[in-house]
């Protein structure tokens, strides 16, 4: 098991407010790591640092041992897939064009692209008949499947998911959760998943990283979190979510 992404003493401030305190985190290959915590705890900031949407104030982010810099970020982004809550599909392009966009620009052949596209349809259980539809003609769940296909198109080493299921209704959400888990297992995909839902974190996470106020409070399995809380906040967070679940 080797480390794919390593953050060392990474911090990020906006004005005087620290979004992320100096933080260390390693993401292991083939594992699903889930970042969880309340809104504004810094979990999205961490994700955006890795994909280079923002630059750290201090510390270093390494991807596959390589320091992420403005010069190499463009190339590294092709090795990372990124899915956001609203899907981020471009409304003027069909589902197919959205998925193939990047592959076209790195010069993949038509054959290669078509094969991969059908593979992904099969993987994400997305009907080929819908490929020529525009995002507005698709349901929320279908849009997220397309977004996932787009992220997986170039077989990225790392998949970043920023609350990908947050905007879906519970039934669609449950079915997509199941599909996602299967897909990750089948691909042996390295995943970094952001959510604020504990049940989802437990369902996906080989390792759960609980964050609060810009720092990592505890890291480990759900059992570690429940039985050996490192901080009163851990119990508080777990109990709050359990309370809602049991109502």
């Amino acid at each position: 098991m080797s480390t794919l992404v390593r953050l060392v003493d990474v911090s990020k401030c906006y004005g005087d407010a620290a979004a992320l305190q100096p933080t260390n985190l390693s993401i292991e290959r083939g594992k699903s790591t889930v970042l969880i915590g309340p809104s504004g705890c810094g979990k999205s900031t961490l994700l955006r640092l890795i994909i280079g949407l923002i630059e750290p104030d201090s510390g270093s982010v390494r991807f596959d041992g390589e320091l992420i810099t403005p010069e190499n970020i463009a190339a590294l982004r092709r090795r990372i897939g990124y899915v956001i809550q609203e899907g981020g599909l471009f409304p003027h392009l069909t589902a197919r064009a959205n998925v193939l966009l990047m592959a076209r620009h790195v010069g993949k052949s038509q054959n290669e692209m078509q094969t991969r596209l059908l593979e992904l349809c099969d993987l994400t259980r997305f009907s080929e008949n819908l490929l020529l539809r525009y995002p507005v003609e698709l349901s929320g769940g279908q849009r997220q499947r397309v977004s996932l296909m787009r992220a997986l198109m170039l077989s990225p080493e790392l998949l970043l998911l920023d609350e990908p299921l947050g905007a879906l209704d519970p039934l669609v959400r449950a079915s997509l959760q199941k599909d996602l888990k299967k897909i990750f297992a089948r691909l042996g995909q390295t995943v970094l998943f952001v959510t604020h839902d504990l049940a989802e974190a437990i369902y996906f996470g080989d390792e759960i990283v609980l964050m609060n106020e810009g720092r990592i409070v505890q890291k480990g399995s759900v059992i570690d979190l429940r039985e050996k809380p490192a901080h009163p906040f851990v119990s508080e967070f777990i109990n709050a979510q359990r309370g809602i679940a049991s109502v």
């Binding site: 004005g15 407010a17 900031t45 981020g88 525009y134």
Partner: protein, 524 residues
């Protein structure tokens, strides 16, 4: 909790900065990828200019009133009898515009009056002898013919019955009737030798003095909206409308002997031809020619009458109205189309830059907004003295181009700014390079807004292009202007109706274009 919220807000702000930095890169890419195109466009402009210069016809100008049109036609006809192309640009505007055009070599000949030259152009009211005027004009590289044979002085005119009723015969008599309403041309109101000094000299008490177009003034005089207006003493309208000229009892107005001004660089043969006109038109003939022009609505015909009076065959086949309409419309489309093309080519890149909320963006939007607030006539007048522009199609296109800029810049900028942050970040995170992001993602997403800006510009341009006729650039404004001058509604409509139809067609065409150019996914 508050701190967290604050952090979120700042996060947004910071990634805005980040975005701005990225935008820099994007623009650099854009400029690099578009530079050859711009180069091509810029290199086309000189070609276009050289082309128009190398043809170098002798250009004759005229001011915007009947007599000047007729004299211009006559000069054109005379110079056409020598080899070389001769072009007539009728109704270019007032004295200053036409004089500037002559001074800069934009035109080579135009009819002028000695009084106007000393008062208005040289601003030396003392220089009234032909020799002293000629000497001073020479310093501008301008020559002057001898007088053509008539004195067309300024005069004040009234309705004959009104003048008789009030017992008014000369300008001094106006002093007793302070209630009279004066409607004066803008030029007369502003001129050194015009209204301000006239009022002072005669101590005129009238308060109700307004500026009105010369031709419209006759209509206002006829229906009693005004009582006194300025006129030229050879104006055919005076007899036609049964008006009376008030005697200039204090000899206020200088002599206005008609002459032709010409560039001294004009070749000798042509100068000699121009001089054949000296002393050939007396006041009676000029009044007749003016009357002919106004009755037939045809200046060329009036010019023919002059040549007939000298025993020559002056007949010219009148251009059929259908041909004229086509000529005007094509020129109109050329003006509006070419300027729109320029507006699009500059407006979209400027809009892209302006979509960054920085200082440069603000400056671009500010500049475009300021241009929009300048009245179109003033903008034309501002451009005319610039050597490169002068009285030409170039000026009209430049002015229309500047007018068309704002809607396109603003719509491009706002269209781009409206793209949500999550979609921008998705494009970045996907690994697309800045040029591709702009071309394939951002611009198509903003296409609806950009196209609606272009549509607005197009319709504005069609309307504003009618003003191009003021500086002799032609188009559908030509019949509107000469119709206004002749007080002839039919001629006005010959320009106004096609212009309105054109605007509707353009609107319809762009609606159609929307369906082709706006990606289907944005129209569902």
């Amino acid at each position: 909790m508050n701190r967290i919220r604050k952090a979120r807000n700042e996060e947004t702000a910071e990634s805005g900065n980040q975005e701005a930095r990225k935008m820099d890169l994007r623009i650099r890419f854009f400029l690099v990828s578009w530079f050859p195109h711009f180069l091509l466009i810029f290199s086309c402009i000189p070609v276009f200019l050289i082309h128009s210069v190398s043809a170098a016809p002798i250009v004759i100008g005229s001011k915007k009133f009947t007599e000047s049109y007729v004299l211009g036609e006559i000069a054109t006809r005379v110079l056409q009898s020598a080899p070389g192309e001769v072009e007539f640009r009728p109704g270019m505007g007032g004295t200053i515009i036409v004089w500037q055009a002559l001074k800069s070599g934009e035109i080579q000949v135009y009819p002028e009056y000695t009084g106007t030259i000393s008062e208005e152009i040289l601003k030396e009211p003392a220089a009234r002898s032909l020799d002293s005027i000629r000497e001073r004009l020479h310093t501008f590289g301008v020559g002057m013919t001898d007088p053509l044979g008539f004195n067309n002085s300024w005069a004040l005119v009234m309705r004959r019955n009104e003048a008789e009723r009030l017992d008014i015969h000369c300008v001094s008599d106006l002093r007793k009737h302070a209630h009279l309403k004066l409607g004066l041309t803008h030029e007369f109101l502003d001129r050194q030798d015009g209204w301000p000094r006239l009022r002072e000299r005669y101590a005129l008490p009238q308060q109700d003095v307004r500026g009105i177009d010369h031709a419209l003034g006759y209509a206002a005089l006829a229906n009693g909206e005004i009582d006194v207006k300025d006129a030229y003493s050879t104006d055919a309208k005076i007899a036609e409308n049964n008006l009376v000229v008030l005697t200039d009892d204090q000899n206020f107005f200088p002599r206005y002997d008609a002459v032709f001004l010409y560039r001294v660089s004009l070749d000798e043969k042509k100068t000699a031809l121009l001089k054949t006109l000296e002393g050939t038109i007396n006041e009676a003939l000029m009044t007749r020619l003016n009357a002919e022009a106004e009755q037939t609505k045809n200046y060329a015909k009036a010019a023919s009458l002059y040549f007939e009076s000298r025993g020559g065959s002056g007949m010219i086949q009148a251009e059929p109205i259908f041909h004229k309409l086509i000529r005007w419309t094509l020129r109109h489309l050329q003006l509006a189309g070419f300027s729109l093309l320029l507006s699009v080519m500059f407006g979209i890149p400027l809009g892209i830059i302006a979509s960054r909320r920085g200082v440069i963006g603000q400056a671009i939007l500010g500049f475009a907004s300021i241009v929009q607030t300048i009245p179109s006539l003033a903008l034309l007048a501002l451009l005319v003295p610039i050597p490169f522009f002068g009285i030409s199609v170039r000026t009209a296109i430049a002015a229309l181009f500047l007018y068309g800029l704002l809607p396109i810049v603003r719509n491009t900028a706002s269209g781009l700014q409206d793209i949500s942050r999550s979609l921008r970040e998705s494009a970045i995170a996907l690994g697309l390079n800045p040029a591709v992001r702009l071309w394939e993602i951002y611009l198509p997403m903003a296409s609806r807004s950009i196209l609606s800006g272009i549509k607005t510009s197009a319709v504005i341009n069609i309307g504003t292009a009618t003003l191009a006729a003021l500086i002799g650039a032609g188009g559908l404004g030509e019949p509107i202007l000469s119709g206004l001058n002749l007080n002839d509604n039919v001629t006005i409509l010959q320009g106004a109706i096609p212009a309105a139809v054109l605007a509707l067609v353009v609107q319809w065409f762009f609606d159609l274009l929307d369906r082709v150019l706006i990606p289907k996914g944005l129209r569902l």
